[in-house]
Amino acid sequence: MSETIELIDKYVVKYGRTREALMPLLQAIVEEKNYLTRDDMAEIATRLNISAADVYGTASFYAFLDLEKRGKYVIRVCKSIIAEMKGKKEITKTLENVLKIKVGETTADGMFTLLETNDIGWSDKEPSMLINHTPYTDLTPDKVIQIITEYRNRH
């Protein structure tokens, strides 16, 4: 908890105590720990002198500001119509098999969270997914297995 407070204080210094600082603040916290807890939001509220409900209201609006515990690597598979036409289902199934979780879940070791998301801007190279900020395109089941293996080998 105190670590997060340090983090919040660091970014409050960087972005300021104005309402306008809220989005960059929330984004910076999610960047570092992948999700926001209620305590985080309450702490931020105190520092910006707005209500905790206001912070929650804003954070919960945005799909990428996760309010549930997420893994170190958040995988978001694109589920646009083009992605579906190009084999998204197979990609999701492969990820579920490799990670042994369902969409919406996080691996027990806290490494990966598997999610689906709306169009990520790669309709010319579907199927595609984001792992944190990095896009992966023209996916095949084999390619997916290889990517996950690489991420696992980083540790």
Binding site: L65, K79, I81, T117, D124, H133
Partner: protein, 388 residues
């Protein structure tokens, strides 16, 4: 291969070096009125889809008196099937920054913002490098202007300009009432020119090549060329720059796979055109205007499935602020499924079409209003696929 009937153009990507700020340098030595007049003369209209004349927007912002004015570049490209701004951001970012600085000079703004969708956060390191080059150039030119990048967090509705301002100000991305329009009261309630990425780049290109050469491209109603994001059942998906005013038949001849059943023009919020109407459909403001998303579907595809995907998208991305959109999108999704599942009979389609009309009239912003476009055009052209 047959001679293509499409007119290609190459003014967006063209020759490029990241440090070449000649256009900016030359342009900011000209009187702002002259630049505005060039932009108006060129005939360019907003490239995000709505099509407001860019020159008039700039002109109006320039006339307003205010202690602060802003230039905002809308890089929240979220329309399904669109990825043209991605290519601009990756390949010619200097042209975006030049265009923003020119706009700032013209309207008297000292501050510009690039609102980048969260999905494109991977571009940030490179964009910051390019911004450093710009900053050095602005210093050299003694131009009081700077650009800040603000990041979105995965909300389609933030592409709506007033929702985008709300997001930049630290709130939920819920659209405001209009008027007042952004040009009067935009970001921080100050006069703001907000333009799509492609619009800004095109405006700076007009400053380079002159309004006459630009206006020679396209048609009377749709001046210039435009980027198209081509995807779906095509052997050659990608971003293409084409002159406006082509027929969909010519487009499909070039990009189709020989079995094209329908083209969704303008993404989920756009219109579905069936094969029998390809020849009569013109892509441009005299026909179907578009932000550039062109999704091709061949005869193997179920249009029911396409529409359900769009409706699911709208249900998730509706900001929830106004009832017609929040409830309407859900009712359309569930209603269409009920017909397919024979829980409701075919007549229920009429009720749903009526609902889209209500949404068009009463939804607060473009998101809810435009659901009718895809719904109506798919349901009316492919009724049997919805029912059986």
């Amino acid at each position: 291969m047959n001679q293509s009937k499409l007119k290609r153009s190459d003014i967006i990507f063209g020759k490029y070096t990241p440090t070449d700020y000649n256009v900016l340098e030359k342009t900011v030595k000209r009187p702002p009125e002259e630049i505005i007049s060039d932009i108006i003369k060129s005939g360019i209209r907003g490239r995000g889809g709505a099509g407001f004349p860019t020159g008039l927007k700039w002109k109006y912002a320039a006339t307003l008196k205010s202690d602060e004015k802003y230039v905002v570049c809308n890089a929240d490209e979220g329309e399904p099937g669109t990825f043209k701004d991605r290519e601009i951001l990756l390949r010619v970012p200097r042209k975006i920054f030049s265009g923003m600085a020119i706009c700032g000079y013209v309207i008297g703004a000292k501050k510009g913002f690039l609102y980048l969708r969260g999905e494109y956060a991977f571009m940030l390191p490179q964009l910051y490098k390019d911004l450093e080059i710009l900053d050095a150039k602005l210093k050299e030119l003694a131009l009081d202007f700077s650009i800040e990048i603000r990041l979105g967090s995965g909300a389609y509705v933030c592409g709506e300009e007033t929702a985008l301002f709300e997001s930049m100000e630290g709130y939920r991305g819920e659209p405001r009432n209009k008027p007042p329009y952004p040009v009067v009261a935009g970001f921080r309630n100050k006069p703001t020119v907000i333009n799509n990425v492609e619009t800004i780049v095109t405006a700076q290109t007009i400053c380079k090549i002159g309004p006459e050469d630009y206006a020679n491209l396209g048609t009377t109603d749709s001046r210039g060329s435009k980027l198209f994001s081509v995807s779906g059942d095509t052997p050659i998906p990608g971003v293409y720059e084409l002159e406006l005013g082509m027929t969909l038949a010519d487009f499909v001849e070039e990009y189709g796979d020989g079995d094209t059943k329908a083209v969704q023009v303008g993404g989920a919020s756009g219109f579905c055109v069936p094969r029998k109407k390809f020849a009569e459909t013109i892509i441009g403001f005299e026909g179907i205007p578009t932000g550039g998303s062109m999704m091709l579907f061949n005869n193997k595809r179920s249009m029911y499935h396409v529409l359900q995907n769009f409706l699911e998208f709208f249900c998730e991305e509706s900001c929830g602020q106004c009832t017609p959109c929040r409830i309407g999108t859900q009712q359309l999704r569930d209603g269409l499924k009920a017909i397919k599942d024979k829980v409701k009979d075919e007549d229920y389609l009429e009720t749903l079409l009526g609902l889209t009309e209500t949404m068009k009239l009463s939804a607060k912003c473009g998101l809810g209003q435009s659901v009718a476009n895809a719904f109506k055009s798919i349901v009316e052209n492919f009724t049997e696929e919805m029912v059986y």
